[in-house]
Amino acid sequence: MNTVPLSPGQTNAALVSRRTLSRDTLLGYALMLPALVAILALVAYPTFYAIGMSFYRKLLGAAEIPFVGLDNYITVLTGKLFWPSLVRTIVFTLFSVALKLVIGLVTALVLNETWRGRGLARAAVLLPWALPPLTAVLTWRFLMSDATNVLNYLLFKANLIQTPVPWLYDPEWAMGSIIFINVWRGFPFFAITLLAGLAAVSPDLYDAAKVDGAGIFQRFWNVTLPGIFPVLMVSLILSTIWTANEFGGIWLLTTGGPGQATTTLGVATYLVGFVGVRNLSQAAVYSILAFPILIVLVILLSRAISAREESVL
């Protein structure tokens, strides 16, 4: 923050704020109340409700809800769905976020240079992010469909493949395909936030590095990367949370299949609660087990944000 010389008006303002201190407290709570009630009712209460549910057996549509203690936890943790789904969630998240970061960063670096049509390109790059997930996902489903074969046709014509690729229909390919589509939808987020981060890196630093004879990669490593690091961390953690919890973008492409090939934790939660055993309590266990990971990510994120705010000051 820039410093403003102390004026008589300001000392008075300080007096005003001291006099209204207790009123600030009252007003603060009053203004927070509606939001707090809504958040407690719609986020906090459901969270605890899920924990409560997990000790009962609540089947979809069943009226009887017997207490079963830790049965659901035992069933889930010893079952054949939870651990493989966790592994698939980690694989999906790791590859997807890493690719989004790299592609988004390179795109941001190019968009940060001055060239004609850059504004248009920026808007176009944003498009996959702006599209409703349904639109984006249906589009790719169409391109990858084995009935229409558009993508295979193009790749074949470009001499990149010899035989049609079963994008979404083969367990070996399906995970790669949903990662690719997730990257397509998500890299603009990195491109745009990192572009904002790049704009804040002082050009003087680059000039100084050039004078010192630093090459392009040295400049990237020693000037650019440290400059955008705080923004990068914030984007990275946000994207990790969103990616790990993707549902529509997987369900509409593969419904978790073929077999279980693309069943991540989010999809597994739905399958357990609404499709297979239709056991909502067991599904709640899936959500609860994912919570500690979320808490760790949120703590990392709030640290990254305060680090960023300090770096700005």
Binding site: A35, M53, A130, L138, F142, V234, S302
Partner: protein, 284 residues
């Protein structure tokens, strides 16, 4: 020597950048082009053995079909989507203005904790909440109602709006309201007359993003609605997928229609997009 090195470097960089950008733009734009094209293709051309990348006989049959098909109630889906997204936005942003002001402007015990609660609420994903919310909505008989979805959507658009508005309000200099208070305004008057008008763009941006989040939402609408009474567009459109038969013409037309408001709002809100995406954690 050094000078020509730099010049070469610049040329190489421009070339590499150009190739990269061309590649990205093709990968980004082609699928969008394909879907728009598919929405105006004749049905026989949609599944042609050799895909058609250009057509001379556009038809709006699929768009008409959306409205006339007896099992899809596209008009009701549109109305539901509009009502649900705008109601949850109105409720969220209205409440969020108060909370955002309190968090940005007032010092009171517990402020930090409340800020964290809001932040955490913003980040709790639907995949962790949809099971308990489903049971709660069933208990309150709010399944398959618009009210149910409005409430559920408030669970994410409210914390998002509070967090975004808080950071926007913080950018408005305190000195402005302090001098208004010196001139005899009460604090609340100073807010109403000075801070809120200046914050109008931020409030509009929060509303745009809340609306888009609700408009695009899939998971909650998927589990909480069953009929045209409350179904939104993203879920209702999937009725054009029957087992393995995809009616690509209608699906593409529906996908284009549901994308129009979302894309338009993003373009309108471009200035705020970075702050919006990160809920105000990164400023544009």
């Amino acid at each position: 020597m050094k000078f020509s090195d730099l010049q070469w470097e610049r040329r190489l960089k421009a070339l590499a950048g150009g190739v990269w950008m061309a590649f990205i733009l093709i990968v980004v734009l082609f699928p969008v082009y394909w879907t728009v094209l598919a929405s105006v293709k004749e049905s026989k051309d949609l599944v042609a053995r050799v895909p058609l990348f250009w057509i001379t006989n556009p038809t709006f049959d699929h768009y008409l079909q959306l409205w006339t098909e007896s099992f899809i109630y596209f008009d009701k889906l549109t109305v539901n989507s509009l009502i649900i997204a705008s109601s949850s936005t109105a409720v969220s942003v209205f409440i969020a203005v108060f909370a955002g002001m309190a968090l940005a402007r007032l010092r009171f015990p517990g402020r930090e904790v409340l800020g964290l609660v809001v932040f955490f609420a913003y980040l709790v994903p639907a995949t962790l909440l949809f099971i308990p919310l489903y049971v709660m909505m069933a208990n309150f008989n709010l399944q398959d109602t618009r009210l149910g979805l409005v409430l559920v959507y408030t669970s994410f658009s409210l914390p998002f709006s509070v967090w975004m508005l808080r950071s926007y309000f913080q950018t408005i200099p305190r000195e402005l309201e302090e001098s208004a208070m010196m001139d005899g305004c009460t604090r609340v008057e100073a807010w109403l007359r000075i801070v809120l008008p200046l914050a109008a763009p931020g409030i509009v941006a929060a509303a745009l993003f809340s609306f888009t989040l609700a408009w695009n939402e899939f998971l909650y609408a998927f589990i909480l609605t069953e009929t045209a009474q409350a179904q939104t567009m993203p879920v209702g459109l999937t009725a054009f997928i029957q087992l393995d038969v995809y009616r690509w013409g209608e699906l593409s037309a529906g996908a284009v229609i549901s994308a129009i408001p979302a894309v338009a709002l993003y373009l309108l809100g471009q200035r705020f997009i970075v702050a919006g995406l990160t809920g105000g954690a990164v400023k544009g």
